[in-house]
Amino acid sequence: MTDPRHLAGHAGWLTPNPPHQVDFVPTSLTRAPTGVDTFDTERMVLNMGPQHPSTHGVLRLLIEMDGEEVVAAEAVAGYLHRGIEKLAEHRRYNAVGTLMDRGDYMSGIHNELAFALAAEKLMEVEVPRRAQWLRVLMSEINRIASHLVWYGTFGLDTGAMGQFLYAVRDREVLLDILEDVTGQRMMFNYVRPGGVVADITTSAVDKIQAFLATIDMYLDEHDALLGGNEIFQARTRGIGVLDKETATAFGLTGANLRASGLGFDVRRDRPYAAYDEMRFSVPVAEEGDCYARYLVRMGELRQAVAMVRQCIDGLPEGEHTAKVAKVLRPPAGEAYAAVESPRGELGVHLVSDGTEHPYRMRYRPPALYALQAAEAILPGTMIADVVVILGSVDVVLGEIDR
């Protein structure tokens, strides 16, 4: 028994006879074999997340596919929205750092620093030089820790496993240093308006020295392990190309923008803390693909190590914080301060009305802009490259959702 409808759709292999004229049908088949002469595939919508091992948090992606090719993609955020901007309006200036830490939880120091800089701009406080240098030191240590997570998980996205364990090994050393100085492994609340909360300890200096003695060797190891891997290069070279126009149109900043050929770095072009006294270069790549983003971040790791070295060698004497009131009441006004976080330009737009609570705090999330740029280039790529592209732009959902 044959249903002629099955034949009708695949007339190609049966031509020249139209389906209704076919007199030969193998009786053992209840359904005619489907033709393979064309790639007429059906469209399919795939849901990735919010629980998915390679979406870097609770990102949800809706992908419409034609075969293995992505036709349309939509990123759904908001699964970690917890109202940092709203709650900041109900916190005192010194306590907002607690919320900021938990925004971009990979790089807490940068978040606190952005808020402290904005508050200091409003209050016009002079921050002691030692505090400025300590801010740079801790920022760069935090940047290495954050980039190591990115390096480890980006390798996981491309199918490698070993580098993740090496990255965590090095990160543990950095977290020990951060814990020694700030008292916490991840949520530091260390940078406050006016300076930093505690001076660096001698044991932390020893730990940093020990870390600096080995890190160059380890970075070479990391570079050889992942970047030198042929499979990794095949998975990332030419994949997810964000050209300069797309990158600027979608508001990309930081390492992602520099990998697309535009060398804007807040540390160099809008210096804050003691970055104008540091000697460092800004790695830039032209290709704009995932491998370029890898190269730029690995270059940044080396620059960060160089800056940590400068800070330890040349840390000026003095106070670690300015004399500021216990309850801060900045004069009414608006200020914008930006820092170069590992994910890009992290800005805080602070509006004060003269009371002890901020009137409005806007947190510019660099990863949100990176996410929409990645979302825009997903159509046309293969499904296997989706996680690679998302991993390469380094999204942190705590920051996207706030």
Partner: protein, 168 residues
């Protein structure tokens, strides 16, 4: 209880099936790789990293809820996320346990005042072990897993005692 130490070669060992399952379950608590927020870095990433290496306790991550025994709720759960957390819990096979890791999963943490945040994950799924901290150190999570292991064996013993009492 290591079986090979208790029982020599060519020997017989009598054990209640519950005790055998209990022994097996306590030694292979596979958790679901489901990190919500900051706690995931400490409780899931660093926990499986080289320093803490939870694998030596048989605690290892699985990507799918259908292969997992334990769900570590590591982060703030908001109203958009709540349905997903419940669904993931429902997808896990019995027996299953839940660890609420960190202040947010326990009570809402620093974000408890925001109306969109669920005040503790125990509003959505039953929780076995609460770990305080923001975020808890990996050592705390390790201790939490030991508490869970004790709890599992206590439950087994309690069940056995109850049945023993009934049959007599």
């Amino acid at each position: 209880m290591a079986l090979d130490k208790l029982a020599g070669e060519n020997s017989l060992l009598f054990i209640r099936s519950e005790q055998l399952f209990d022994w097996a379950r306590r030694r292979s608590l596979w958790y679901m790789a489901f990190g919500i927020a900051c706690c995931a870095i400490e409780g899931l990433m660093h926990a499986s990293g080289p320093r803490f290496d939870f694998d030596r306790h048989g605690v290892f991550f699985r990507a799918s809820p259908r292969q997992a025994d334990v769900m570590i709720v590591a982060g703030t759960v908001n109203h958009k996320m709540a349905a997903t957390v419940r669904r993931l819990y429902d997808q896990m096979p019995e027996p299953k346990w839940v660890i609420a890791m960190g202040a947010c999963a326990n009570t809402g943490g620093p974000f408890r005042e925001y109306p969109n945040v669920v005040l503790g994950v125990d509003k959505i799924v039953p929780v076995d072990v609460y770990i305080p901290g923001c975020p808890p150190r990996p050592e705390s999570v390790q201790y939490g897993f030991f508490q869970l292991m004790d709890k599992i064996s206590e439950q087994t013993e309690g069940r056995l005692a109850a049945r023993h009492g009934n049959s007599r």
